[in-house]
Subunit: 256 residues, 2 copies
Amino acid sequence: MYTWCRKRDGITVEKSSSNTHAARAMIELRQRIFDGSLAGGTRLFEVPLAEELGISRTPVREAMSRLAEEGLLDRARGGGFVVRSFRYKDVVDAIELRGVLEGTAVRLAAERGVDSAALIRIHKTLLRLDRCFGPEPGDVDVESYREFNGVFHEELATLSGSDVVLREIDRVNRLPFASPTAFLPDRGYHPNFRLTLPANQAQHRAIVAAIEAREGARAEALAREHARAARTNLEYFMAEHSNLIGSVPGLALVMN
Amino acid sequence: MYTWCRKRDGITVEKSSSNTHAARAMIELRQRIFDGSLAGGTRLFEVPLAEELGISRTPVREAMSRLAEEGLLDRARGGGFVVRSFRYKDVVDAIELRGVLEGTAVRLAAERGVDSAALIRIHKTLLRLDRCFGPEPGDVDVESYREFNGVFHEELATLSGSDVVLREIDRVNRLPFASPTAFLPDRGYHPNFRLTLPANQAQHRAIVAAIEAREGARAEALAREHARAARTNLEYFMAEHSNLIGSVPGLALVMN
DNA sequence: TTCCGGCACCATGTATACATGATGCGCCGT
DNA sequence: ACGGCGCATCATGTATACATGGTGCCGGAA
């Protein structure tokens, strides 16, 4: 275990620790990309970065390489890395892509049949989501709902039984604004957002029911429409509530 | 420009040159994975590899990192890389995935509309594909057909106008057995295979027509079915012509 | 005989010095 | 004044030495 003192203006402002320097550099860079302090198109130079992080070039290269794998950096012609630019349309497309991939996962699950143990597990998750709702409308434990929603989508992707599809879903979900949880209501949201959650959960149940009924086309269509809700929220945010953009994880990096 | 002498049994057997050591190491490793000499699950150790390639560990790490990006290597827990295992079902799923992604690309193209210049270009490619057919049935210039088929699929993906979707299509196409050209008839194939090409080209035309007519659902379904032909060929190969497996690029790495 | 602890080795992680290639600027010549 | 050539500088590419941490084996003790 290493310890790490990052200096800014000669004064230690942060101390962090983790397994390796490369891992911490990766986390730090990812953070800076997500919060927008490293804008899209910015070229990353190894030497200044290494100096700033107080480590050598080697782990910096390692970190950048992994971030390229993650899709947050592009390799520049002639070497080096550039922060990937995400425009509004790219966010829309990434959400669309998630819908398509989740749709494929559930269609395959319906067509090929699913393991009964996995089915029991996802039903448990559905119940946990149900229990987030109180007796009154708008009475929702949003924090728990967010958590179990993430679990549900993970289990849904697993139901396909396809490692290839699962891997691609994980990939697109690593873009924070494309993940199933990205536009789910948070504490900071207007209470009215919570009123949309019952419909959300109804879609969850319909998807699982379609899978059990071996209705692949219906499952696929439902999953796509389910993802579409995220796009609706995105459009609402960008148009009328641009002040809330910062509260959606990773939306700050989007350029227009 | 470097030159590179790889030694085996102490004797120089190969000499290769390229821009960087890392690039050549990447090409060499990719080759070994594709032809099956590095089986899935094999762990790659930096030091022996570096010695064998006559370079230092640094470019070897760089090469492995890029191959992980490409999806041919997995990062092992606790560091290091392992050759990714592809089973028969993974090939099936990769082809399915390509169909889904190409379907999405053409659906988006139909729904959102396409640039007329791009449309003219792809029509030219369609004409070039037509010209590969001679007057007699089975009289096909398969080499040219392969080439223009690749161009066609590339242009088709571009029609979507979505960088996000295009990137994912490129990604899946890097798996050689999933690319649109993988199972297209080659010189070595039985002449009967050439009789399937007119139907193949008819699908190409139908997809473009659907896009022009803004029929997104039809375009998507056609593209999926078009990819499905590759799966049919795959099944045929594995079942009855396993001796031909080696002639399909990258199919040698598939384990059962 | 079995289990636990320590030691040794090996693979990766990290730092650093040096090499190389690209790029941009300035000078010189026309 | 303009254009081309060359040099200087900088960023990445590469090699290598050393650090670290995990793992497996061996020996001793219960």
